[in-house]
């Protein structure tokens, strides 16, 4: 009963504890933030990997922090989806960390305004590790209040990361982001309060088991949903996303677009998953409608952008839509819908992070990211541009990528349920995606030579980490049974 007794599922805690403590160490180790940060990242990734292996071999489990039982204690639950997300974070996070190491090294080596880059790096690592820990906590927590706390932690650290670049635009964007995020988390908290009021419990599984649709519950769900939509920037709440993601430092953009968004969406999904059998068609249609609007509008905006990072950011807006249009398809079909959407989330995470990393490298090399002036980057950064193109493929959903598998599952679900409007939205969305990605890629891969920095400032680790992520996105097209098998594991 008491905390000293080691529970059998204690490995659940390490992916949370390790990055948090590493954040502390990185903050304190003034001289060597990079070393401690990278070590922390590596350890966290290892811990996540271990968790994954454990779950694969022994099934999921749960863990009460400090031995305190719910409701007062905080409980972690490692079931299939959660561990999948942790693993996704680990893979993406590790690559981003490696990239960040090279990124700051290059920036510092380039010199420039005083010690700015050194300061940036000094704060980057603690914030990033804090974010990582919070994200892992968010994925693993079983209790809805803890979700709120981790959500806030995630939000605060990401705002910090966003503001890190020091550009006025990024600060304004961070401000917007923070306010939107506050609004979202307060709504979420109010919803949590209503749920607790009606159920007297904070454990999500308990609540969902006993759920009945009384008006307070409905209000709670409405508040939680809208709050989380704000957090993950579903259309029409995407207003904060593009400026924040596009103006941040390169690794930060990747973190925000690849991982942070998934946090909000993950909670949304878990709330609704148990709740769906109770609700009518109208709600899911609204959700999917918003998702569809996001797909179209985001893709259209991405097409309209003139800066590469803005384009990628709006692409995130669009891709979030895919995470929501799954709801009408979840109702029927034994878990296929959930599998599809998780697979989409995973492959999007890898692909989008790779895109942002590659875009960051290009930005760094060229000193700008105006798409029309990017011709000829291929000659300078062959690996990076290749990674960019590969990641683009996954986003487009072309075979043989993870995006393809996910889209395949989506489409087959939609077709088998005769949801033609979803099919239409997806096809149109895919075409638009193809158009904007091709627009970028055609410039980036253009063989024409354009004057830029002749000296290559982008480090090898930056190039290869982006490529590695892109390759993972491709690899996901071949190993689908593995993650999806994990998906069946219950906590």
């Amino acid at each position: 009963m008491m905390g000293l007794q080691l529970q059998s599922d204690c490995w659940l805690i390490w992916p949370v504890i390790l990055p948090l403590s590493a954040a502390l160490v990185a903050f304190l180790a003034k001289g060597q933030p990079r070393l401690s940060g990278l070590t922390g990242a590596l350890l966290t990734a290892l811990a996540s990997g271990t968790l994954f292996l454990k779950v694969v071999n022994h099934g999921g489990g749960s863990y009460d922090l400090g031995g305190w039982q719910p409701p007062l204690g905080i409980s972690l639950r490692g079931d299939g989806p959660a561990v999948l997300m942790v693993l996704m974070t680990a893979v993406t996070g590790l690559a981003i960390s490696v990239y960040a190491g090279g990124y700051f090294q290059s920036r510092i080596a380039m010199g420039g305004k005083g010690r700015r880059h050194i300061v940036q790096e000094r704060f980057f690592w603690p914030l990033w590790l804090l974010l990582w820990g919070a994200l892992n906590g968010l994925f693993l927590s079983a209790d809805i209040f803890n979700m709120y706390v981790t959500l806030e932690l995630v939000a605060l650290s990401s705002v910090g990361l966003t503001a890190l670049s020091g550009k006025p635009a990024s600060q304004v964007a961070a401000m917007r982001y923070l306010l939107a995020s506050l609004l979202g988390s307060l709504s979420f908290l109010l919803g949590v309060a209503f749920l607790y009021k009606t159920h007297g419990s904070l454990d999500l599984a308990t609540i969902q088991a006993a759920l009945a649709l009384s008006p307070p519950v409905a209000l709670a769900m409405a508040l939680i949903s809208v709050g989380l939509m704000l957090k993950c920037a579903l259309f029409p709440f995407h207003f904060w996303l593009a400026p924040a993601h596009a103006n941040a430092l390169a690794p930060v953009s990747a973190i925000l677009s690849g991982l942070v968004i998934k946090g909000g969406w993950y909670l949304f999904f878990r709330f609704w998953q148990g709740f769906l059998p109770l609700v009518g068609d109208g709600v899911v249609v609204v959700l999917a409608g918003l998702g569809g609007a996001a797909i179209i509008w985001g893709a259209f905006q991405a097409f309209c952008q003139q800066r590469l990072k803005m384009l990628v950011a709006y692409s995130t807006v669009a891709q979030i839509g895919y995470l929501f249009i799954i709801f009408p398809l979840l109702a029927i079909g034994a878990g296929q819908g959930a599998a599809a959407v998780f697979y989409f989330a995973i492959s999007h995470s890898c692909a989008k992070a790779a895109l942002f990393l590659a875009a960051g490298s290009i930005f760094l090399q060229m000193g700008h990211d105006r798409i029309n002036n990017l011709d000829g980057v291929r000659q300078i950064l062959p690996i990076t541009t290749f990674a960019f193109a590969l990641a683009g493929l996954s986003l487009m959903g072309l075979p043989p990528t993870g995006g393809f598998i996910a889209k395949y599952m989506y489409l087959s679900l939609a077709v088998s349920q005769d949801s033609w409007w979803l099919v239409l939205v997806m096809v149109v969305g895919s075409c638009l995606t193809a158009i904007y990605i091709c627009r970028a890629v055609s410039h980036v891969l253009s063989p024409r030579m354009v004057a830029g920095r002749s000296q290559v400032v982008v480090g090898a680790s930056m190039e290869w980490s982006a490529l590695a992520l892109a390759l993972v996105a491709i690899l996901l097209g071949f190993i689908a049974p593995l993650p999806l098998g994990l998906f069946e594991v219950v906590g």
Partner: protein, 499 residues
Amino acid sequence: MIWQNWLLVMILLSSLVPGLIIFSLAESRHGLRTTLNLFGAITKMVLVMIMIVGIHQGKSFAVHLVLLPGLELVLRADLLSALFVALSSILWLFTTIYAIAYLEDSPNRSHFFGYFSLCVTVTIGIALAGNLLTFLFFFEMLTLSTYPLVVHRGTTEALAAGRVYLIYTLAGGFCLFLGVVWLHVLVGPVDFSREGVLSPLVESHGQTLRIIFFLLIAGVGVKAALFPLHGWLPRAMVAPAPVSALLHAVAVVKAGAFGIIRVVLDVYGLQTAKGLGLLMPLMLLASVTIVYGAIYALKQDNLKHRLAFSTVSQVSYIALGISIGHPLAIMGGMAHLVHQGLMKITLFFCAGNIAEILGVHHISRMNGVGRRLPLTMAAFTLAAMGMIGLPPMAGFVSKWYLGLGAIAQGQGWLIGVLVLSSLLNAAYFLPILYGAWFKEPEGEWPADSGTVGPVESHWMLIVPPVVTALIVLLVGLLANSGLSPLAWVRLIINARYGL
């Protein structure tokens, strides 16, 4: 048993691996790159020969890779795929030789040959695809691996063309994707070796099957440049000549045509497709394309554009043969798959030579080219005569069987289409021949690169077109012998329909 299964993978790897190595090579490693290219091409030829002999002896080759439960990649070599594989691998060898000389001293060769090898790998993949998903898989990859080749020159025009190419093919790809998914939802995985899976559904899901057919054909039709979907093809002519040759003869357009064959014959099956009334619209479409392409070809003054529209027209012969639905016509269509490839690659090689050696791009300036480049123009003449469908060139053989099939199927009016096409072909090819052979040159050539060695230019530029032109001649002249593509096609038709 094991080697048989690995053979297919090795055929793919034989161009993929050199391609990947070439990507990483420095621009200056000309010798190594050439060696790798030729090594890959020859290895592939040898492996394909082994495979063909194996197939002929009744061995079966297949590899599976499960992507998801019920979703697997299958490589399988059947008679039809052997036809396409053989065509691709042989023509790849020639195109490689040609491209090595053609791109001498031009920048970005490592990139070019890397994608070039990738493109062939993917084409072979399309040929060997054993089910619809695998086909889709490689079909999409083909778009991506050819795009860099199309924009290789990097001019504004090339980039614009590349964009158009991508928009068309990707949109087509999504149609195909949707069709494939839909079909999977209806009947599960669609394996090419199980013809007639769809026939039980004709009664219950007729309308759905028609829509799916439309989607699939729209998907493959973009690459096959069927009439309203052909817009990308003439624009893609900005690419270097070997690319155009590859695009038109081996890879993209041919893959589309091959896709039509697969969709109609292996996915739907002839009987089902007939029962659903799907062949008639396809036939009309193909006929319109044939005439339309020829008329537009007539209007072009740029040689490559003329050839491009000629491709639009000629490739639809394949679709026409399939859509007629009679075994004889199918035979003609399949034979044209090979014949058109041989003829068109020769024409593009020659057009490339004329542009590369003399700097001449327009037909109106080609007067007297025959005197300066006799071998090139001789090859061009043979191929053009084949295109017109004159005996004994390859083109005649396919036309003949198409006509026979059309009559046997009671669609005699199609002979009118064939005849019109022949006339138009003559109208756009004969003036070229006339100008090149019988007119005097109008002074200096714009950019004559001079004679190298005993022939009119670098031998690697001259030998490929001459050899392919001779093959065009021989394929027709010896059509009845056991070694001609026609014999193989006859084997296919015999196995399927028992002629």
